[in-house]
Amino acid sequence: MFNKVFIIVKREFLSRVKKKSFIVMTILGPVLFAALITLPVVITKMSEREYNIGVVDDTFLFYDRFKDGNNIVYTNLHTNINDALELVKREKFDAVLHIPKVAFESPSTLRLITKDAININAKIHTENVLKHEFESLKLGARGIDSEVLRAIETNIDIQAVRIQKDGMEETDYPEVSIILGILSGLLIYMFIFLFGSQVLRGVLEEKTSIIVEVIISSVKPFQLMMGKIFGIAMVGLTQFLVWVFLTLIIVSAVRVAMPEMFEFASGQQVQLTTAQMLDSNHIDKQIGEVKHHDTMTAQVLEALSAINWYVMIFAFIFFFLGGYFLYAALFAAIGSAVDNEADTQQFMLPVTIPLIFAIIFAQMVMSNPGGPIAFWLSMIPLTSPVIMMMRIPFGVPLYEIYLSAFFLILGFLAATWLAAKIYRTGILFYGKKIGYKDLWKWLKS
C-alpha cells in the first residue's frame, strides 16, 4: 500500500520536474535573482562617465561653490547665457546651469539647460548644493556664522541593544531583520500559492480527464490525494533548493570574476548617499562617510551573522512544508468538488483570505514583532507559516516556535481529514455545480 503511494509521488514529481516550464523557471529564477543583485552594480559601472555642467552665475555668488564629484564636473563659464547655450548645442557641455540675478529672491528662475535628457543625479546634486548655499547665505544674512552651522550638524544613529538571557548585550539590527522577515514571509506566501494551486489543478486534471476512477480502483482516494500533495511538495522543495544553490553560485562567480566591480560599487554608493551633504569641505566629509559606510557594511555582516541560520533555514523548510500541506489539502478538496477551473473561484476566496490577511498584517507585525497581533497570528495555523517566518529574524523564543509548529501540525491534520472526506465524494461527482450545502453533506456522510 505504501509502495503505491510512492509510485504516485514519483509520477507527480517527475511529470512536473520534466516539464519545460519547470526547468526554465528553475534556471531562470536564480539568474533573475543574481541579475537583481549584480545588475545595478554593472549598470552603474557602465554608465560611469563624467557629466559636464557649465555654470553661468549672473550673481557671481556661487562660482567655486560647486565641487566636482559623483562623476559630475562643474566648469565656471564667465560668459553670458546665450554663448553658454551655444556650447551646449555644440555638445561641449552636457548641461548649463544658469543662476540669474534674481535667483536669490526667486529661486524658481534657476535653470539647468540640456540638449539630451537630463541626468537625474546631476540635477539632484546641483539642487542640494544650491539649497545648502542659499540657506547659508540666508542664515548669514541674519548673522549666523557658517562655522556654527557646521558645528550643529549631527548624525544620529541609535544602536539597538538587546539583553540576552545570559546577561550579555547584543546589538540589534531591526533593518536587517525587517528585510529578512519580509523576504522569507513573502517567499513562503508565494510558494504556498504556487504549489498549492498546482495541487488544485492536478486534482482537477484527473477529474476532467476522467482518469480518476481508473486510479481509485487501484488505490484509495486518500492515497492518491496524499501522493499528489507529497509529490508536489518535493517539486517545491527541489525548486527552492536549486534556487538557493544556483543563486549562491552565480553571485559568487560574478564576485570572483569581477571583484573590482563590487568594490567600486560600494564607493559609488557612498558618493550617492553623501551627495546631499556636500559642502565646501565635502571631501573630508566624504572620507568620514566612507568610514561610516564601512562600519555599516560591517554592521550588516554582523547582523547577518547574529541571526541563527540553522533556526532560520530549518524553520523555513518546516513552515513552508507545514503551510503548504495545510493549504494543499484544502486546495485538493476544492479541486475535487468542482468540474472546471471557473467554478473554483467561489471556494478559493475563503481559503486564500487568511493568507492575504497575513500579508496585510505584515507591516503591523514588523513594527512590533513581539506584540499580541504578531503572537496570535503566528499561532493560528492558517496565518502562522507567513507570520512566524516574518518574526523569526527578530528572534522568537523557541517555545513559541514549537507551539506554533504544534498548532500547524494539528491544523494540517484537521485540514487533511476534512479534505479527504470532501475529496473521496467529490472526485466521482460530475455534472452539477457544487455549493457549500453539498460540501457540508459530504462532510457529514
Binding site: 500500500m1 503505491k4 482518469i211 476512477e213 481508473v214 480502483s217 488505490v219 466521482l428
Partner: protein, 306 residues
C-alpha cells in the same frame, strides 16, 4: 464454491435517493455475466462497491467465498464507463504507471505491455503523448491496462462505446479468450445484441432493485411462451384455419407468395399437433419457435415493473 462474486443483500443510500435496494447477485466463475439495466438503475454503484471505490451501507460482498478486502483489488481489472487518461503523459509511460498501481512490477509490466501493444498495433505510439492518439486507440490502451495484470475478475462498463466495428470484434475476441483462460467477466451494457452474443448469465437491475437473474438461455426459454413462426406456400384458403381451443393465430402476412404466420399453442397441445393441423392448409416451408430477444425481455421487464 462455484461463484466468484456473491452479492448478499447489498443496500446503498445516497443523500437523496436509494441506489441499491437489497440486491443479491451470484456471479459464477469463468462466466461472462451481463449486468443490465436502464440508466440510473444502480449498475455503476454496484460495480463501484465491488471495486471498493465506495462502501455499501449494509449487506456484504464475497470474493471467492471470502469477504472482499483491499487486497482483492489487484485481482480485479476494471474498465469504467467514464474512462480517460492523462492527456499530456506519454502512452507507454502512462500504461506502465497504471499497471504498477495494480501491483505489477515495473519489468514485468514493461514486457507484458510491449506484447499487448504489438498485438493491438500500438507499439509505434509508445513514446507519443496520449492526446495525439485517436479515441479508439486510447480505448485500446485502456483495455490493455485493464487486463494486463491478468485479473481473475474483469469488470467492463460499456466496453464497446467509442469503438468502430472492427475494434469491437477485436475486443470481443479478447474477452472470449480471457474467459477461456479462466477469467470471470462482468459486463455492463445497453447493447443487448452483444449481451446475447457473449453473456452466459445476466442480472437485470431496475430502480435499485434486481428484477431478473439467471442463465441467459433459461431466461429466454422462460420468456418463450409457445409461440411459433411458420412459413407456408400453396395456401388453400386466404387465411390459415387453425384457431380452435388449442391454437391461436396471432398474425399472418403474405410476402412474395409465402405466407408467414405466428401461432400460439395453448395448453394441451404440442408442436406435432400444430404441424398436423397445418398440413391441411398448404405446404410448410418453415417452422421455428419464437424466442424473445434480450431487447424484448429487457423492455418487457423494465416497463412491466413501472
Amino acid at each position: 464454491m462455484s461463484d466468484l462474486i456473491q452479492v448478499n443483500s447489498v443496500t446503498k443510500d445516497f443523500s437523496n435517493h436509494r441506489a441499491l435496494d437489497n440486491v443479491s447477485i451470484n456471479i459464477p466463475k469463468q462466466s461472462i455475466f451481463g449486468l443490465l439495466g436502464p440508466n440510473g438503475a444502480g449498475k455503476t454503484t454496484l460495480i463501484r462497491i465491488i471495486n471498493q471505490i465506495i462502501a455499501q451501507d449494509s449487506g456484504e460482498i464475497l470474493f471467492d467465498g471470502k469477504k472482499i478486502n483491499p487486497k482483492h483489488v489487484e485481482r480485479i481489472g476494471y474498465l469504467p464507463e467514464e474512462r480517460g487518461l492523462y492527456k499530456k503523459m506519454k502512452v507507454g509511460e502512462q500504461a506502465l504507471y497504471l499497471s504498477q498501481l495494480k501491483g505489477v512490477h515495473y519489468n514485468d509490466a514493461k514486457k507484458l505491455l510491449k506484447e499487448w501493444f504489438e498485438k493491438f498495433d500500438l507499439l509505434p505510439w509508445w513514446n507519443n503523448k496520449v492526446e495525439t492518439l485517436s479515441k479508439g486507440m486510447q480505448q485500446k490502451v485502456q483495455f490493455i491496462i485493464t487486463v494486463l495484470h491478468n485479473p481473475e475478475l474483469l469488470i467492463f462498463d460499456e466496453p464497446f462505446s467509442g469503438f468502430d466495428p472492427i475494434n469491437i470484434n477485436l475486443i470481443k475476441d479478447e474477452i472470449i479468450k480471457l474467459k477461456n483462460n479462466g477469467a470471470t467477466i462482468i459486463f455492463s451494457t445497453h447493447n443487448m445484441s452483444s449481451v446475447e452474443e457473449l453473456c452466459d448469465h445476466i442480472a437485470l437491475i431496475n430502480k435499485s432493485k434486481k428484477v431478473l437473474e439467471g442463465n441467459i438461455y433459461k431466461i429466454k426459454r422462460s420468456y418463450a411462451n409457445q409461440v411459433y413462426q411458420v412459413e407456408m406456400s400453396n395456401l388453400s384458403g386466404s387465411l390459415l384455419n387453425v384457431n380452435d381451443n388449442n391454437f391461436e393465430l396471432l398474425n399472418q402476412e403474405n410476402k412474395n407468395g409465402i405466407t408467414e404466420a405466428t401461432i400460439k399453442i395453448k395448453t394441451n397441445a404440442n408442436t406435432n399437433d400444430l404441424i398436423s393441423k397445418l398440413f391441411n392448409n398448404g405446404t410448410i416451408v418453415g417452422f421455428k419457435e419464437v424466442v424473445p430477444s434480450m431487447d424484448e425481455i429487457f423492455i418487457d421487464t423494465v416497463s412491466r415493473k413501472e
